[in-house]
């Protein structure tokens, strides 16, 4: 962050601005950038998912609003904003209202601790990985509260499924991330990325990746683990009673979480913002010319997003292919298979790094 800050102050000095105003602006500006990026990415992700699923199932997908239907999701979001918020008479009004807001904002917090390149991150912490894991579990809790407050039987079923799912997937996630911590010797996402300069962690930790990938699909509450929504069983699960913007909070939050989880997976297993060939393209192109140094940061962000896009595509592909699991078999999968596997994987990695 310091590099960008210096650049900014230099710029202000040149044009005779007050430095303290510059610092004030600079403390708000990155958050504004993230907020704008979040809205853009979420709308594009919804569009991408609809298009990909459409082409997988021999359809064209949205193709009316804007060129190739690209503005369809924007139109949908505006429509949801304008719709009436319907409440049941006997729902718990307070929890019913704040649950979608909190679910969405806890995902926004996740966006703030991701290092998007070597300089740009909003919250710098030495335990950012731990912070991520702690906050990533929040949305499910608010899904539970939303379903509980709705006073609807389908929502109630959906909400307690969300809880049991959380209890299942978080254990294997923690154990695989512990393996990563041992490999990188740090809980700082920056240091984890730098530790993958030579070898991506997917190579020593391939078992961990598979476990983490499955568990993170469950964390995202997506097919085949979308038990708490399960539209063919529970109508819409925990958000059956939600409409308008409150529903959009859940809906868009799900896609914001999809992106941030994919980015996190790229950071933990695929070297984060590091280029796949070990050398930056902009270095090759620009030589040692210092004036274009900032291009590297753009390239880093590009690589991070490129890697996470592949992961997002995989997750969408899985949604297009698989039927939904039942709660029984999800528990079975996580507790009887993935948890022991991740523990064994952790022990092996500890032995390899410390033994």
């Amino acid at each position: 962050m310091n590099y960008l800050l210096n650049l900014f102050i230099e710029f202000l000095d040149k044009h005779n601005f007050n430095e303290s105003i510059g610092i004030m602006i600079f403390s708000i500006l990155p958050f504004a950038i993230i907020a704008a990026a979040l809205v853009f990415v979420v709308l594009m992700l919804v569009y991408a998912e609809r298009k990909i699923l459409a082409y997988m199932t021999q359809r064209k997908g949205p193709n009316r609003v804007g060129p190739n239907g690209i503005l369809q999701t924007t139109a949908d979001a505006i429509k949801l904003l304008c719709k009436e918020n319907i409440e049941l008479l006997h729902s718990d009004k307070v929890i019913f209202t704040i649950a979608p807001i909190l679910a969405f904002s806890s995902i926004v917090v996740l966006w703030c601790i991701i290092p998007y390149n070597a300089e740009f991150h909003l919250i710098d912490s030495t335990i950012s990985l731990l912070f991520y894991v702690a906050v990533a579990g929040f949305p499910m809790l608010f899904h539970f509260l939303a379903g509980y407050a709705s006073n609807n039987k389908y929502s109630l079923l959906g909400s307690y499924r969300a809880l049991s799912l959380t209890a299942s997937y978080s254990v294997p996630i923690l154990f695989t991330l512990l393996a990563t911590i041992f490999l990188a010797d740090s809980m700082d996402l920056h240091k984890i990325i730098i530790a993958q300069e030579k070898v991506w962690f997917i190579i020593p930790n391939i078992i961990g990746f598979i476990v983490f990938f499955i568990a993170s699909i469950a964390e995202l509450n997506r097919c085949p683990f979308d038990l708490s929504e399960a539209e063919s069983e529970l109508v819409s699960g925990y958000h059956t009673e939600y409409s308008g913007m409150r529903f959009a909070m859940f809906f868009l939050g799900e896609y914001a979480a999809l992106f941030v989880t994919a980015v996190f997976t790229a950071i933990i297993f695929f070297g984060g913002y590091q280029p796949p060939f070990g050398v930056y393209l902009s270095n090759i192109l620009m030589g040692n010319c210092r004036c274009f140094n900032f291009l590297i940061y753009f390239e880093q962000t590009f690589w991070l997003i490129a890697k996470s896009s592949i992961i997002i595509f995989l997750i969408i592909w899985i949604r297009g292919t698989l039927p939904r699991l039942t709660q029984k078999s999800v528990m079975n999968l996580f507790w009887r298979y993935l948890t022991p596997i991740s523990i064994i994987n952790l022990i092996l990695i500890i032995l390899a790094t410390r033994g």
Binding site: L53, M56, T57, Q58, R59, K153, Y154, L156, L157, C223, P224, D226, L227, A230, E231, S232, E233, L234, V235, R319, G320, T321, L322, P323, R324, L325, T326, Q327, K328, S329
Partner: protein, 362 residues
């Protein structure tokens, strides 16, 4: 024990229409289930009493909108028996061919919607893609995509000029069924959802009067096509599995589509051989007076045995028409087999029985 009573339906994404299931839940486990029908009652049987036979004929297609030809056939056959009309052989072959195509299209729709019930979103589009070929062909032949009104007393309304289409349709569908099987038959999640779920024993299946694929999946050798005279010259196998669970009902339907393709192949061959000869496709009859008599006519529809009971006391309207529709019996067994299952399994079981609600309520 605290129970939660859940009204599943009449408006619910997985009931394929308007079935209401009153379910008592203990957690996710079903303590008791009570199907409640009648939300789509159109008075099909009563309507027959105020209309003459020709006026009633277009209506019977609407008893089950997914397999109109079968009900059309059952009614035509009843009237033909009543008046001792002999149907030309060519008409019989055309009827068989169209009914088997209809069976495939019905099974394809079941396949797609069943997978939707299980949470897989893609297969319905694949199934509809293939079903569309059949629908297009029906449109070409009959002018309608669903309510055909093509069979008539004494034969069929028009001659069929397009055989090559059918050949390419069944070739495509034969290939695509292989694709479906590759996608699902060994998919661990699909197996997890269907194997040993909703087991109907041979005894239970016969006691609750199940018919069709649901009965054959329980290991009872029962296919009414072997009793139907028009199928006499046709060579086909009866698909049978013994487990009686959702997976075997899936398998029975998949293999039945293959058998239907075999039957259609034979029909095309026969019709192709005599396409040069100008054979009659309709026995021209004028139905003015009807004998004082009652007849039964049955047909093996995609969902099981469909029966038409026709009582005539003379005059040009039926005195009484009674339909025996197989979905009705598939619905009533729910009360028995849903006890003790969990909520996701309700959908897996109910979907596997291939219930079409208009057929239940008539």
């Amino acid at each position: 024990m605290n129970k939660m009573t859940l009204n599943l339906g009449p408006q619910h994404p997985a009931t394929h229409g308007v079935l209401r299931l009153i379910i008592d839940l203990d957690g996710e486990e079903v303590v008791s289930a009570e199907p409640d029908i009648g939300y789509l009652h159109r008075g099909m049987e009563k309507l027959a009493e105020t209309r003459n036979y020709y006026q009633y004929l277009p209506m019977v297609d609407r008893i089950d909108y997914l397999s109109g030809f079968f009900y059309s056939y059952a009614f035509c056959n009843a009237v033909e028996e009543l008046n001792h009309i002999k149907v030309p052989q060519k008409a019989s072959y055309i009827r068989i061919m169209l009914m088997e195509l209809n069976r495939i299209s019905s099974h394809l729709l079941w396949f797609g919607t069943y997978l939707i019930d299980l949470g897989a979103i893609s297969p319905i589009f694949y199934a509809f893609r293939e079903r569309e070929l059949i629908m297009d062909y029906f449109e070409k032949i009959t002018g309608q995509r669903m309510m055909y009104n093509y069979f008539t007393f004494g034969g069929v309304r028009h001659d069929i000029p397009f055989f090559d289409d059918v050949q390419s349709i069944i070739n495509t569908i034969g290939d695509k069924i292989g694709d479906y099987e590759r996608l699902l038959s060994e998919n661990p999640i699909f197996l997890d959802r269907t194997v040993n779920v909703g087991v109907i024993s041979e005894k239970k299946a016969t006691e609750w009067a199940l018919t069709g694929p649901n009965l054959r999946a329980s290991g009872v050798l029962s296919d009414f096509r072997v009793n139907m005279p028009i199928y006499d010259d046709i060579d086909f196998d009866i698909v049978l599995t013994n487990e009686g669970d959702c997976y075997s009902r899936y398998l029975v339907r998949i293999y039945e589509m293959r058998e239907s393709i075999k039957i259609i192949q034979q029909c095309i061959q026969w019709l192709g051989q005599c396409s040069s000869r100008d054979l009659p496709f309709l026995e021209k009859v004028t139905l003015k007076t009807f004998p004082n008599q009652e007849v039964f006519s049955s047909v093996e529809a995609p969902r099981g045995l469909s029966m038409c009971y026709l009582n005539s006391i003379g005059g040009n309207t039926p005195y009484r028409v009674k339909w025996r529709t197989s979905s009705f019996y598939s619905t009533q067994i729910l009360k028995d087999i849903l006890v003790g299952v969990t909520v996701p399994e309700i959908m897996a079981i109910y979907g596997s029985l291939d219930v079409v609600l208009p057929e239940v309520d008539r």
